[in-house]
């Protein structure tokens, strides 16, 4: 028995050399795999930008497609994307921010609050195509059709249109806005609220005058992330009014007698950047000839979402620094 023990001890003394190599191997493997993942990701992006960068110029970004989509630009698709995002923000931001204020400031730890939180988390996990089903079935065929029937407007809203696409995307990005706003509100130090109460402010006065102004850039981060998410989504808007090609922009004119004011017409169909890539790659009559346009559009869409994300990161950084200053003083 003692002998065996000795042998074991010797082996333990021997271990360091082999352990060392094993150690190098294991850690090296983790590093190599990580490098591989980042390399592949950059190669994909690099390929898209390499193929797409050549075509992108001012004309590409502003002109309409010409010659069976093989020439011209993606101006209407960019216009459509911006319009839909604009409407989406109008729908989603008030409800999202107010819900977050309720969850973080008013709600006590009771059943209602837990149900609301669980719903937010669930909504965030619903597959995007299900939002498309919901948008078509509920917004277009239920609300739109009934609206037309009741108001006698013929076929105005009972068909896929920009209004319903933005409403559906608003439902999709609602959790993003709520979760970021809760984070922003939560980061405002308790002492700030206590100080406001100490000065005799009511709850609403505290929220309006202290909490919301301080979490402004945090809330903005959430809105930017929501836009980035919405602009990148394709599946929900597939059946909600995206068009392959439109001869004119979805703009209507409000006649005021002396002059006409142009405004985005939410009852119209629209072109959408992400849908443009999808439809050109899968259903255009000549996918090889439109290849440069496809890569160019993909590069534009990636640039748009990445720029939005970087802006959000910067805002978040700024927000954290502001709060740090508040805490230190």
């Amino acid at each position: 028995m003692p002998e065996e023990k000795n042998i074991k001890n010797k082996e333990i003394r021997k271990l360091p050399a082999s352990t060392k190599y094993y150690e190098y191997f294991a850690i090296g493997l983790v590093q190599v795999i990580t490098a591989f993942v980042f390399l592949i990701l950059f190669l994909v992006l690099g390929k898209i930008f390499y193929e797409g960068a050549g075509i992108i110029d001012y004309q590409f970004l502003t002109e309409a497609p010409r010659n069976n989509m093989t020439e011209g630009g993606i101006g209407p698709a960019i216009f459509g994307t911006v319009s839909v995002m604009f409407l989406m923000i109008i729908f989603a931001v008030p409800i999202g921010v107010f819900s977050a204020v309720y969850i973080n400031e008013y709600a006590e730890d009771n059943l209602a609050q837990r149900v609301i939180r669980a719903s937010v988390n669930n909504l965030a996990g619903v597959p995007s195509i299900v939002f498309g089903l919901f948008g078509l079935g509920f917004f277009v065929l239920f609300i739109g059709k009934n609206f037309d029937e009741v108001m006698g407007t013929g076929l105005l809203l009972g068909q896929p249109a920009m209004l319903w696409a933005s409403a559906t995307l608003a439902v999709l990005v609602l959790p993003t806005i709520i979760i970021s706003t809760i984070e922003a509100l939560n980061a405002v130090p308790h002492s700030q609220r206590a100080a406001a109460y100490g000065l005799g402010a009511t709850k609403w006065q505290t929220i309006k005058g202290v909490v919301l102004p301080q979490s402004r850039s945090g809330i903005l981060t959430g809105i930017i992330l929501a836009v980035s998410r919405g602009a990148g989504e394709t599946a929900p808007v597939l059946f909600l009014g995206c068009a392959f090609f439109l001869p004119q922009l979805p703009v209507a004119y409000l006649d005021l007698g002396l002059f006409a004011v142009p405004f985005i017409n939410p009852a119209e169909q629209f072109m959408y950047l992400s849908y443009h890539i999808f439809i050109l790659a899968t259903q255009s009559s000549n996918p090889t000839l439109t290849m440069p346009v496809q890569f160019g559009t993909a590069a534009v869409l990636i640039t748009l979402t990445v720029l939005l994300n970087i802006t959000a990161v910067i805002f978040r950084f700024k927000f954290r620094r502001t709060l740090q200053v508040v805490r230190e003083n």
């Binding site: 352990t19 150690e23 294991a26 850690i27 493997l29 983790v30 795999i33 990580t34 591989f36 993942v37 990701l41 994909v44 992006l45 898209i48 409800i95 107010f98 819900s99 204020v101 309720y102 969850i103 008013y106 149900v115 609301i116 719903s119 669930n122 909504l123 996990g125 619903v126 597959p127 995007s128 195509i129 299900v130 498309g132 089903l133 919901f134 078509l136 079935g137 509920f138 065929l141 709520i178 009511t202 609403w204 980035s228 602009a231 990148g232 394709t234 599946a235 597939l238 992400s274 849908y275 890539i277 999808f278 790659a281 290849m291 869409l301 990636i302 979402t305 990445v306 994300n309 970087i310």
Partner: protein, 317 residues
């Protein structure tokens, strides 16, 4: 009431009523989300169980065909537009699994290592750079990845694997891993970082090396967090539409071969909802697929959340 200061009385009834009104206003807004999720679920349910009275719900899974000798055979086919309409979602579920499972396996093998690197090996400076980059990748529009797999990836793949169909399940799975690797990597990193420093220090003081600490102390402790990340990634793969729509080939076959074209549940809705006439049995079948997706991803998310909550309790000794 007696202890209130005389100034407090100055908050008039009007003021108090206003505060109450504002509170209810916010509550209503908060309740919108609950309403929406209920509305989505009930609407999907209503549409998927609507339809013709002579339609049996079991036909969503199989149809029975009488053979020449009088015996019946179960057929699992998705032929929504043929005259003899068959609406079995079994091949679609199989297609979803054939893309989502390989995607999760690939992403787990790579994503967990990236998470370990970010949390344990990378210096704090490098991590501050790499983490936002990983998050940026998670934000790449999926249509771009689908487009890339369709236009570039498919050709490379065919040259390497000599597959019979240019677009197939494994190609879609590789496309899906681009969005799932960031999810698994981020959640693994979070799970590893939530482990208290004392545990690492205790391991080091017993003479363990860095890798021994990682593989025998940190990963076993964080295993539930990592598995929650994997489940969430799988749920995302099941629910993803554009990548599979563009890269999987969209042939609704009853196959287990990942090198053949498959058709997933999400891609079926995306490809067919545009052409279907509202109120037809095919239309209701698409809503039924939507309900299955909704419930499936809901359950996956629920499991992941329960695991994460359990782990949080465990770590807070």
């Amino acid at each position: 009431m007696d202890t209130q200061s005389p100034y407090a009385k100055k908050i008039s009834k009007r003021f108090r009523a206003k505060e109450k009104l504002i509170k209810y206003f916010f509550f209503l807004n908060g309740f919108v989300t609950v309403l929406l999720i209920l509305l989505i679920f009930l609407f999907l349910l209503k549409e998927s169980f609507a339809g013709y009275t002579d339609f049996n719900l079991s036909e969503y899974f199989f149809t029975e065909k009488t053979l020449a000798d009088g015996s019946t055979e179960k057929i699992f086919e998705w032929f929504p537009t043929s005259e003899d309409q068959r609406l079995s979602i079994v091949p679609l579920i199989l297609g979803t699994l054939l893309t989502a499972i390989p995607a999760t396996i690939i992403s787990t093998m790579l994503g967990v290592f990236v998470g370990i690197y970010l949390s344990e090996i990378a210096g704090s400076r490098l991590r501050e750079i790499l983490k936002p980059i990983i998050e940026l990748f998670a934000g790449i529009p999926t249509v771009v990845l689908g487009f890339f797999m369709l236009v570039v990836g498919a050709t490379y793949f065919q040259d390497v694997f000599f597959t019979t169909s240019r677009l197939n399940a494994i190609l879609a799975a590789v496309g899906l891993s681009f969005i799932i690797i960031p999810i698994i990597a981020t959640l693994t990193e979070e799970a590893l970082r939530s482990i208290p420093l004392e545990l690492r220090m205790a391991s080091y003081s017993l003479g363990a090396t860095k890798w021994q600490t990682i593989s025998r102390v940190i990963i076993p402790t964080a295993v539930s967090g990592i598995s929650a990340g994997i489940i969430l990634g799988f749920g995302r793969a099941v629910g993803e539409t554009m990548i599979v729509l563009m890269a999987s080939g969209n042939a609704a076959e009853l196959t287990l071969d990942v090198f053949r074209s498959v058709r997933t549940m999400t891609a079926t809705i995306a490809a067919e909802l545009g052409e279907v006439s509202a109120g037809s049995q095919h239309y209701f079948a698409l809503f039924f697929i939507g309900t299955v997706l909704f419930i499936g991803t809901f359950l996956l998310n629920l499991i992941a959340e329960l695991i994460i909550n359990k782990m949080r309790k465990k770590i807070r000794f």
